[in-house]
């Protein structure tokens, strides 16, 4: 077969496709042709291809059921390689030149699927199958059952290489957001747009029109499509109107916050719009929302109702009128309402292929019946389709009278079904809006919503064109009125359209007969009427439980065609009216959204801010390996060629204690605290006293939460009587500022204190080690660095390397140490000068790892490492910094029985008996290597854990800090570190390993 030309099912002269622009595409490896304006679904049908997919569980042959976003069957894998995307609905894919799609979930191919054998086993593949079957043996689930089931049941294949496309995001505010550009949505939009208010119209189709594109119509004397085009043109020309097509609103959140995904280049084909974001995620904040989302037609459940060729009436009409595609030569329609009846006739008017309308009602609308006669369509009332037959495509149906028995078989090659309409209440329900069941129309309708939203058109049960247009205009006017525009909102139109529907949810239930074949409710998850009835028999009463047990409505289509039918069948089996059973909750997303669209531009280097210090360029140039500390990149260590972490840290640590080291300490949080009550404020937030601290001096402080647990620590300097500079740990800077503001604003508003973050005003270079004083002298010849003139825990201002600087003599490692602060714009220059000045003195740049080792050698804690929110200052040996006199946050908690008790975990040092053993941080410690005599499987209980653990070249041994129950009383004892299969003995020591006397911090004058 030549393949490309065949369009055998195209109707001469019909449809709005562009026959001058043929498009070649490939489906399951077959080369085919469609036209511009086709969807993949319409192009496949035009080529006579109905079988496009296999079902999820039974691998039954499936074709297009719908022509829109509610499609449950026709899922395809689009494109290959990095551009591939699984599980897209063929009914929504616009055809482009070179499109390449294939069926999902079939093996070896869609025509002949080996797993269709599941259909024979269907009596055991019932609701709750997994829960009932794969219970034993226990270990089999993860290793055997789950992988096998996933392989058998999966849908499409996720791409396995990086996505070459880019994605985007946009925030947008408007007065009125209209969702849906069908007749009602356009009508409402024209009201809003012409008034000049900021309006956004979002339409998921490529063009405006909604139902006007799906069936013939006339408005104001012109064709419906023409009216829609004109309305679009008028609105799109307005500077106050943003009209977005190919955009799907998928979520409706609080405060009229709606999210939509715009498919900007999908219709052009992959890789053809370089630099243009493929999808854009819109975040709308609307003062008012008008929902005109239309309605979905729903099927009727009968035997083998899932055969390819069985479609919704609306879909058949759309394929004929919009795409000029005939679904076959001989069709029958099975409808239970006037709307579906009319759609069958519209289809016949274009496609001339409907032989008969089968209607369970005794008395369809007279005018429709007459029109049927005029179009040559037989009408069979009081009848239903009981079962369809066929192999890969429907070939006949059994027709049965609603009263009495007797089946008549009718040959046909396609079937139109209309079981009524489900207004698309999804977004309204998300808002959240309440729904009510309308027994007359046999559907759920919007009822009450807590947000300022109007509904219009078919969503509001205005199913006919005239009433939809009127309803849209009224919704627009009401919206403008609530926005304060001088518009007469008018009275809401009361009359609803009549469907004259005779609800038939299930033919079996209607006839009271057991009929052959499978009776599908949820096509995508392969849930049948029998599954729901089984769930009911097994005691499921709640619709929410039944949904989860049977998986009705839980597929990617969110049950757009199945939910209402499923709950109606459940209600009937429980003998309850439908409203009493109620609906399940509708949740975002209305249609699936790709991860790419959600990630947007937050990818690669933009996935999270990378914060760097002014000295960063030097660190990079000098080979630093970086560590992430919050969002900061801090040098972790500076390896020389051939060095690993351990070698580099050994060298850096040694230098710091024998010559000198230099570290970039810019990231420490800094808060400028000013005001007459600043000292009193610090007294309250820190555990120690601050009022007597002299100007020019510094003090270490610990902050607790009200529960008495350590929250942060740092050194604070008194710049003036009424001014302090507080430092915080790097990761806690923002949190501590918030904490201070919270207490100031909510508890102590009477204190005259202002806090200002100055973290990034200053660049900080720490010069550490025995030679630090020599280096500082070289840098600042005019400053006196003697112990007498510039003692420990003071700061001085002066000129360092020609730059105005503030130098703190504080130490986080026990060595003589100066922290030089200059405005950040001088940070790099100062750093370079320090490096230069340090050259004769063995100055070695070091990173956070060496900082950690050096501070641990001195037993200095790190917040978040030695503390975890359950540790008091006393636990970590900081009772010296806890005032007994004044009050402060957390003080009262120290008298709680648990915080005051003996035997709490306390900070200790540990030296492993095997000096090379660096215990993993977090390791548990036990007091004895013995096993429990009570249960030999158990060791002795944990008495604590290791909080920090390193190798120290200065100690020539590994060492650790740990929190151990009653640890201070255990110095000299042996504990055991639980380590894989064995236990490693470690000796408990004081946490200060180096220079217990504290002589090193003053250096040699």
């Amino acid at each position: 077969m030549s393949g490309t030309a065949a369009n055998i099912a195209r109707i001469e002269g019909a449809g709005k496709i562009d026959r001058t622009r043929p498009l070649a595409f490939t489906f399951n490896g077959r080369k085919l042709q469609g036209y511009a304006g086709d969807t993949l679904a319409s192009a496949l049908l035009a080529n006579g291809i109905h079988l496009v997919a296999r079902s999820f569980k039974y691998h039954r042959p499936r074709g297009m059921l719908t022509a829109g976003n509610e499609e449950p069957n026709a899922l395809v894998q689009l494109e290959r390689g990095p551009y591939t995307e699984p599980n897209l609905r063929a009914t929504e894919i616009e055809l482009y030149e070179g499109l390449d799609a294939s069926s999902v979930n079939c093996f070896p191919n869609v025509q002949f699927d080996l797993r269709a054998i599941n259909g024979l086993a269907s009596s055991i593949l019932v609701a709750g199958f997994y829960n009932k079957t794969f219970m034993w043996p226990k270990g089999f689930w993860k290793k055997v059952y789950e992988p096998a089931l996933r392989a058998a049941a999966g849908l499409g294949v996720a791409p396995d290489s990086p996505d070459p496309d880019t994605y985007d995001r946009m925030h947008w505010h408007c007065d009125v957001l209209v969702v849906g550009a069908g007749p009602a949505g356009l009508s409402a939009s024209l009201q809003a747009g012409r008034r000049g208010v900021r309006t956004v119209i979002v339409e998921e189709a490529p063009e405006a029109g909604g139902s006007l594109l799906q069936r013939p119509a006339t408005i104001d004397g012109v064709a419906g499509t023409e009216w829609a085009s004109k309305a679009f043109a008028e609105l799109d020309a307005m500077p106050n109107v943003l009209f977005l097509c190919r955009t799907s609103v998928f979520g409706y959140y609080d405060h009229n916050y709606l999210m939509a995904v715009e498919h900007r280049t999908d219709h052009l084909g992959p890789g053809r719009s370089p630099g243009v974001a493929r999808k854009r995620l819109w975040h709308f904040r609307a003062k008012r929302v008008v929902l005109a989302t239309g309605a979905h037609e729903r099927p009727i459940v009968f035997g083998n109702n899932d055969l390819p060729g069985i479609v919704l009436a609306n879909a058949a009409c759309t394929y004929a009128t919009r795409y000029g595609v005939s679904l076959g030569k001989c069709g029958v329609a099975f409808v239970n309402n006037d709307h579906g009846f009319a759609l069958a006739l519209e289809t016949q008017a274009v496609a001339r292929n409907i032989a008969m309308i089968i209607d369970p009602r005794p008395d369809p609308d007279d005018a429709l019946v007459k029109r049927a006669a005029a179009l040559g369509v037989r009408v069979l009332c009081n009848s239903v389709i009981a079962t369809a037959h066929g192999w890969n495509r429907v070939s006949s149906v059994d027709i049965c009278p609603t009263r009495g028995t007797g089946l008549a078989r009718l040959e046909c090659d396609h079937v139109l079904v209309s079981g009524g309409l489900n207004p698309a209440v999804h977004l309204y329900s998300q808002a959240p809006g309440k729904l009510r069941y309308d027994a007359n129309l046999a559907c759920f309708l919007p009822d009450q919503c807590i947000q300022t939203v109007e509904v219009a058109g078919a969503l509001n049960a205005r199913f006919s064109l005239d009433s939809a247009l009127e309803d849209g205009a009224l919704a627009g006017k009401r919206t403008l009125h609530t926005l304060g525009q001088a518009v007469d909102a008018g009275a809401p139109a009361e009359a609803k359209d009549e469907l004259h529907i005779l609800p038939v949810w299930s033919v079996q239930a209607q006839l009271g007969l057991k009929l052959p074949g499978k009776h599908f409710v949820d096509y995508q998850n392969d849930v049948t009427e029998a599954d729901i009835l089984l769930a009911s028999r097994e005691g499921f009463r709640s619709v929410e439980h039944t949904k989860r047990y049977t998986t009705t409505g839980m597929a990617t289509d969110q049950g757009k065609t199945s939910n209402v039918i499923g709950l109606a069948i459940l209600a009937a089996s429980l003998g309850k009216p439908i409203p009493e059973v109620g609906t399940t909750t509708f949740r975002p997303p209305f249609t699936p959204v790709t991860f790419g669209a959600i990630a947007g531009r937050d990818r690669g280097s933009l996935s999270d801010p990378v914060r760097t210090t002014p000295m960063h360029a030097w660190h990079v140039d000098n080979g630093a390996v970086f560590e992430d500390v919050g969002q900061w990149k801090r040098p972790w260590y500076f390896p020389k060629p051939g060095e690993d972490l351990h070698a580099a840290v050994a060298r850096e640590t040694k230098a710091l204690r024998t010559t000198a080291g230099v570290m970039d300490a810019t990231t420490l949080g800094k808060i400028d605290i000013q005001g007459a009550d600043a000292a009193e404020f610090l007294n309250r937030v820190y555990t120690n006293a601050w009022t007597k601290l002299a100007v020019g001096s510094c003090r270490y402080g610990v902050m607790c939460r009200p529960d008495g647990m350590v929250m942060d620590d740092g050194v604070t300097a008194r710049l003036a009587d009424d001014r302090f500079l507080m430092t915080t740990t790097t990761g806690n800077a923002a949190r501590v500022l918030d904490w201070l503001e919270e207490w100031l604003q909510t508890e102590w508003p009477e204190l005259e204190v202002y806090c200002t973050t100055v973290t990034e005003q200053w660049a900080t270079t720490a010069v550490v080690g025995p030679n630090a004083r020599k280096i500082l002298k070289a840098l600042a010849p005019d400053m006196d660095f003697s112990n007498a003139a510039f003692p420990f825990m003071t700061f001085r201002e002066g000129v360092v390397a020609g730059l105005a600087a503030r130098v703190f003599r504080i130490s986080f490692n026990g060595e003589l140490s100066y922290e030089i602060n200059v405005p950040s714009w001088h940070g790099l220059a100062l750093w370079r000068a320090v490096i230069e000045a340090g050259k004769p003195h063995g100055l070695t740049p070091y990173g956070t790892e060496t900082m950690h080792v050096a501070r641990a050698e001195k037993g200095y804690i790190i917040i978040g490492q030695e503390t975890d929110g359950t540790v008091t200052p006393q636990d970590v040996g900081l009772e010296w910094a806890v005032s007994k006199q004044k009050d402060f946050i957390g003080k009262r908690s120290f008298s709680r029985s648990d915080t005051a008790r003996a035997g709490r975990k306390q900070l200790v040092g540990l030296l492993p008996q095997d000096k090379a053993f660096v215990a993993p941080e977090g390791s548990h410690l036990v007091a004895s290597p013995e096993r429990s005599t009570f249960d030999p499987r158990l060791g002795s209980p944990s008495i604590g854990h290791i909080t920090s653990s390193y190798y120290s070249p200065n100690l020539e041994s590994a060492f650790a800090l740990a929190l151990i129950a009653n640890g201070r009383a255990m110095h000299g004892k042996t504990v055991y570190c639980s380590q894989g299969s064995g236990l490693k003995p470690m000796t408990v020591t004081d946490p200060v390993f180096i220079d217990k006397e504290g002589k090193r911090r003053d250096g040699i004058d």
């Binding site: 370089p274 933009l606 900061w632 000013q674 020609g802 950040s824 370079r832």
Partner: protein, 209 residues
Amino acid sequence: MTASTDRVSPLENWTARFAAASATPVQFSIREVAFATHINLRVDAAAFGAKVRAVLGCDLPVVANTWTTGGECSAIWLGPDEWLVVAPDGRNESFCADLRTALSGVHHAVTDLSANRTMLEIAGSDARVALAKGCPLDLHGSAFKPPQSAQSLLAKSQVLLQCVDANPVIRVFVRNSFAAYVAEWLLDAAAELAASRNLDTPRIANRLA
């Protein structure tokens, strides 16, 4: 031993990229405005605004999210008792000293933050759209215009936005360590808008103007 006294701005190395992104300034331009004087001022403006005015020549705005200008300075509202005073490069020390003198005895805080942030100035018809890609505020020309300012997020960075011209010219104040991220983000946003010029950029820009 002395260091270079030349100051280094956070985006010093970005000049070429900024120039390239500003090739058609009617649509988009971006530049760094470095080293301006930034002073964070906290005081009760109702009682002591006149003292501040005497120093700065500028009223402190009392309407939330607005800025005023006067003398050499502009003052941006940050909170009911907090402003950012922006002045030409080099005025930080004298203004800080003069403010402290003028406000002595009054509860206040004067903090020199000139080296704490840098400023990105963006302009052109795409500028609002570029920001709208990452800022949740309403940036429509009718909603964000002089003398408005706003503290918000731009993507994942805290920013202070100042609309200095409706045309628009918008200043993005960003802390030093976030400056490279914000610059990269803005250039990426602008590049996408440029690539989409034939698709929808003018339409969207026009509707945000």
